[in-house]
Each structure stands twice: as structure tokens, then as C-alpha cells.
Symmetry: C2
Subunit: 355 residues, 2 copies
């Protein structure tokens, strides 16, 4: 009665208080609650008593004290360029599923492609003791941290980093064989911005596959997304279809010697289609358009988009799984690269080439 139980700050039950209340030592209570291996010798009745009291007094172990001891925080850092509509949300849907199931939380940090932020954020998050990093679409070369790193859609062969990548050869092959099979020979290519790791990688795949299939890549038919369009500093539209609209319009003003366009992603493809329509073309009768990613609106825009589906959610899930696994077994060997398979989704935006 004089145990002092009633004068506590309510809702803040200690291990000490719990132990006092039970007439046991903190050690015993802790061992039971954590189901520690050295708790074998504790009889079931005592166990039961401890569990019940913890439940009844609504005991919650203090997060910081526990983390201080075990030096792990049950949280990871997610580094991404921005909170973009297409890519980010889809990958994160998969990531979140896995992290949540493992009782992990995550910090998100957007570097907006700024070099200094790409170096600064990892340091700041290490100070907050994240147990690992997940990089989305972000070059990993410069990142040196004392915890495991998994990079999704990056291609840096660096110690400590596991890459989750798409099989780009297969992806490009499916798209180009589809167009080739429809009779397209003069194909325009829209390259991604330099900053994005996938851009160069995919471009090389395009050149290689083109040689294999026998498609000529004409420099006059290669356009490039302007990296500025991706920046936050545009304010209102960080990553609008505009990024595809502008280069397509520019190309159309020079010449119209192509029957199909292979776009860097779906958002750009939607913009490109808009530019084609504005120029008096109809899609797919006059020009076929192929996108990349298969974001949600791809199926519902008009015309619906033929596109190379990246299994973004699965890539997120897989990435998170690997990261959690590497965190749990820090000295186990880990894969340097994991490849995921794409899938061509044929919809309305492609058709046989006009004669």
C-alpha cells in the first residue's frame, strides 16, 4: 500500500516498478518478457504472473533505453530523389509491407538530386542510429555508412551495397521485339535524365538489343528528358508529364521521320502522346508509343498505355527483405545484385506501323 504505486506519473510504468510490484528482481522480469534463452529455468507459474502483471499495468519498455543497450533502433532510412507520383509510391508500397511486418519504422529523406544532400542525409540518419539504408533510384557510390545498404534501381558495385535491379536487356528486348513485330523500323528513343542511375543502363541495353534485332538507332531520333523538369524548384509540378511533352514537341518541330516512340517512363509517355496529338497525329494509328514502369494511370489514360511493367512493388518488398535479413545477420554473406524480371503489357497505344 505504501509501495508508492499511486504516486507515479501515470502511463509510465518502469521495469523497476513492475518488478517491485511483483516482488521480483528486474532481471527476472526482463528475462521473462524478452523470452530470453537463459530464462529456461523460470517456472511457468512465475512466467505467467509476470506476463499478466505487465499486461495489466500496461507496461511498455522504454524505446530509448532499450535501443541504447542493444544499439539498434528498429528503424531504417529511406533515401529518394523526391516523393514522386509514379515510382516512389509503388516501390514504397512493397517496402512498407515488409518493414511493418517486422515492426520497423522508417525515416524518409528526399535529396532532390543535390550532391550535398546525398552525402549529408546518410550522415544525419546514422546519427539517429538507423539500422540500415534503402536507396531508391539514387546513386550509391558516394555513400559510406557503417550499416547495411540496399539500393533499388541503382547499379553501383560497391562494398556493402546490395543492388535490386531490373533485367534491362529482357525489358528492352520485349519492347523492341513488340514494335519490330508490328512492322516498326524507324523508332524514336527518349533517354532518361543523366541523374537517374537507370538512364545510362537502359540506354546501353537499347543499343545492344537494337543491334541484335537489327533496328537502326538514328541519332536524329534520340531525344532526352531535361533533368531540370524533375527538380523541386519548379515548385508546383515536380514530375509532370511535361517532361515528356517538351522533348517530343521539340522533335516534332525538326522532323517526323518515325512511326514509334519508346519513352523512358509512363509519365513521359503520357506527355509525349499529348504532344503528338497537339501536332495532329493520332496514337496509335499514326505513331505507336511504349512506356516504362506501368504506373497506375497507365491503364486508365487515353489511349491506355502499352508499357514495360517493372515489378516495382515486388522490388520494394524484396529490397526490404534483403535489408532486414542483412541487419539481423550482420556477418552473413549477402548478394551483390538481385535481378527482377519485367513484363510487357500490351494495351492501346501500340498498333501496326503505317505503310
Amino acid at each position: 500500500m505504501a509501495k508508492g504505486k499511486s504516486l507515479n506519473p501515470p502511463g509510465h510504468v518502469n521495469l523497476r516498478m513492475l518488478a517491485e510490484h511483483l516482488g521480483l528482481s528486474q532481471t527476472t522480469v526482463s528475462l521473462v518478457l524478452n523470452n530470453s534463452p537463459s530464462a529456461k529455468s523460470i517456472p511457468p507459474e512465475t512466467r505467467q504472473r509476470v506476463m499478466e502483471a505487465a499486461e495489466r499495468l500496461n507496461y511498455r519498455p522504454n524505446y530509448f533505453a532499450r535501443s541504447l543497450r542493444q544499439s539498434r533502433s528498429m528503424s531504417v532510412g529511406v533515401l529518394a530523389p523526391d516523393l514522386s507520383e509514379g515510382y516512389f509510391t509503388r516501390v514504397m508500397n512493397g517496402v512498407v509491407q515488409e518493414l511493418t511486418a517486422a515492426h520497423y519504422f522508417y525515416f524518409t529523406a528526399c535529396h532532390d538530386w543535390k550532391k550535398e544532400l546525398i552525402e549529408q542525409y546518410p550522415r544525419m540518419l546514422v546519427e539517429r542510429a538507423v539500422d540500415g539504408f534503402l536507396l531508391l533510384n539514387t546513386p550509391a557510390d558516394q555513400i559510406q555508412v557503417p550499416v547495411p545498404v540496399v539500393a533499388i534501381s541503382a547499379h553501383s558495385q560497391v562494398e556493402n551495397v546490395t543492388n535490386i535491379v531490373l533485367d534491362h536487356h529482357a525489358a528492352v528486348e520485349q519492347a523492341l521485339k513488340h514494335l519490330h513485330g508490328l512492322g516498326h523500323r524507324r523508332i524514336a528513343f527518349m533517354r532518361g535524365p543523366k541523374a537517374i542511375p537507370d538512364s545510362e543502363f537502359r540506354w546501353e541495353a537499347i543499343q545492344q538489343v537494337s543491334r541484335e534485332i537489327g533496328i537502326k538507332v538514328d541519332a536524329n531520333n534520340v531525344i532526352r528528358i531535361d533533368a531540370e523538369g524533375w527538380s523541386m524548384k519548379t515548385g508546383y509540378h515536380p514530375m509532370a508529364p511535361e517532361i515528356g511533352y517538351k522533348p517530343m514537341k521539340a522533335l516534332l518541330e525538326k522532323h517526323r521521320d518515325f512511326t514509334a516512340v519508346f519513352c523512358f517512363n509512363d509519365i513521359a509517355a503520357i506527355g509525349a502522346i499529348r504532344a503528338l496529338k497537339d501536332a495532329g497525329f493520332s496514337v496509335p494509328q499514326d505513331v505507336s508509343v511504349v512506356g516504362f514502369d506501368d504506373i497506375q494511370s497507365a491503364a486508365f489514360s487515353t489511349p491506355s498505355l502499352t508499357t514495360v511493367r517493372q515489378p516495382l512493388m515486388e522490388m520494394g518488398k524484396r529490397g526490404a527483405q534483403v535489408l532486414l535479413d542483412r541487419i539481423a545477420n550482420r556477418d552473413k554473406e549477402y548478394p551483390g545484385e538481385i535481378t527482377m524480371e519485367p513484363e510487357l503489357v500490351v494495351r492501346e497505344s501500340t498498333a501496326a506501323a503505317r505503310a
Copy 2:
């Protein structure tokens, strides 16, 4: 030399180690580094010496130990239903700007509309000592936490919560006056899912404004988005245009006695347009469609969407500002509600009613 400096785990400099190295006590070093008021008496030279050593040895105070002592974390919790394409990313763009500028990080937690998670996550994040909460599109009634809360797009008059809301009367008035002005009299309304706080609020505004303008709301022309479509458990498409496609299709199978549709949001509007086209209608010649939000794809879908623009980014910015202000001055008075103004954006999806 034999001070043991070289046999440390590198990158892990203690306060103790720093103090030893300096030949001072931990207290002194701590006082200097935190610029504590009781450090007044410490001479500038000693100060200087401490600061330099900390810099040189790259000393970083342990986050857990520090938080364990002072229980605050320089981070906030963001609670949202999901990482949806339209709403979430736009609001967060504004939020992130403000938080980053104030050197705050944030945890994101998606409750997926599950009651138990809406109660559980705040508790878990309080354990992690977040300094405040930001609720997106999430009812705040049940949330009891010892830190400031700002709710964006919610309408709960609860102690401790500041609401950032849209002026729904103005929003609905602009949309309906636009349609009324184009000659539309028989208008179909798509209500939002029950779970979303804005749904009921907007519906009441619709009823009131309709009375004021003289538009009849016919129960046969009211459809509702099926809440299940929003759930994660659908796996692949958490929040696709499908949510608008299905109810629109169902309505069209019953009757076609309307010349315009006012949709709950842009994503649903895109789905509804698709359903109208599938049924042989053309938009806007046969049926006008008005959306809500003005998400990025609204301007680039075909036809481009007439919609009520919510200043989502500004709402996020404002919400974060208020939260940070309330965190910094915990006892200052705070606003219970802040109203933001909408703006009608007229594009291609609306036209004069057919005779």
C-alpha cells in the same frame, strides 16, 4: 600515445573518451558542448579547446543516450491512410519543405483505415518520442497523445488538435455555379468513402449549395465510391481510377438521366470518364465531368480535367508550420482551425449542356 585512442571502434567517440583525451571531466565537456547556462564560468580558452577537440575527433553525441535523458527527438510522426498517388505526395511535398528547413525528420505510418492501427501507431510513435503529429486525411477523434497534433483535411473539434481544412462551401459553390452556368440541371454526384473525413463534410456542402443555387439533388443520381477499393488488401492497385469506374458503370446500367457528374476526386473522375466512354458517351459533348484536387495528371489526361483545385502543397506547408510553431512554444495559444481557399480550374472535361 598509450591513451588507448587508437584501439577504439572507429567512428565511435564517447563523451568519456573525449574528456579523457582533453584531461577534463565529462561534465565540463558536456556543459561546453551544450552551451549550458551553468557553463558561464568556464573560461573561453577551455571552451575553445573542447570545441576543437570535438571537431577534430568527429565527436557525435549518442542519439539514444541523449534522448533517454531529455526525451525529445527532433522528429514528428506522419499518419496517413496510405501512400496514395494523388493526395499524399502533394501534401507531403509541402510538409517536407518545412520540416527539412527546421532540421526535423519524420516517421511515416500508414494505417490503411484499420481502427486498431489508428490507435496503435500514435502510441508506438509516442514511445519513440516524436515531438508532434501530422494527420493526413485521418480522423483525429480517438487520438490522445501528450504532444501537439495538426490534422490536415479532418474536421474533429478536439482539444490539442489544429485542423487545416478547405473552404468546402466555396469549393462546391464554384463547381456547381460553373455547371449551372453551362446549363446543367440534372447533375450526378459521386460521394466519397465513409472513412474519409472530407466525404461527409463535402456532401453536406453539396446539399446546402444546391439549395442555395436551386439545383435539385436526386437520390437516383447519387453514387458512392466503394471503400474497399481503397484498401491495401487489393494488393496491386491501392487507389486506382477503378474506384470511379465501377460506381459510374453501375449508374449507367440503371439510367442515363444526367448531363454532368461531380466526382469526389480526380482519380475517380478519370475512372468515371473511362466508364462513360465505354458506354458510348463522349466527354464533354454528352456529359460534363468535374473532378476535385487537381492532381498532376488532371492536366494531362484526355480530356484534361475541369476540377476544383485544393492547394494541397500549401495545406501541407501551413500544417507543418503550425505544428513546428506549437512544438517550439508549447504553452502558447494555438488555432483550432485554419481554412484554405480552393480555386476552380476549367479545362476540357466540361461544356455546355446538350439540349
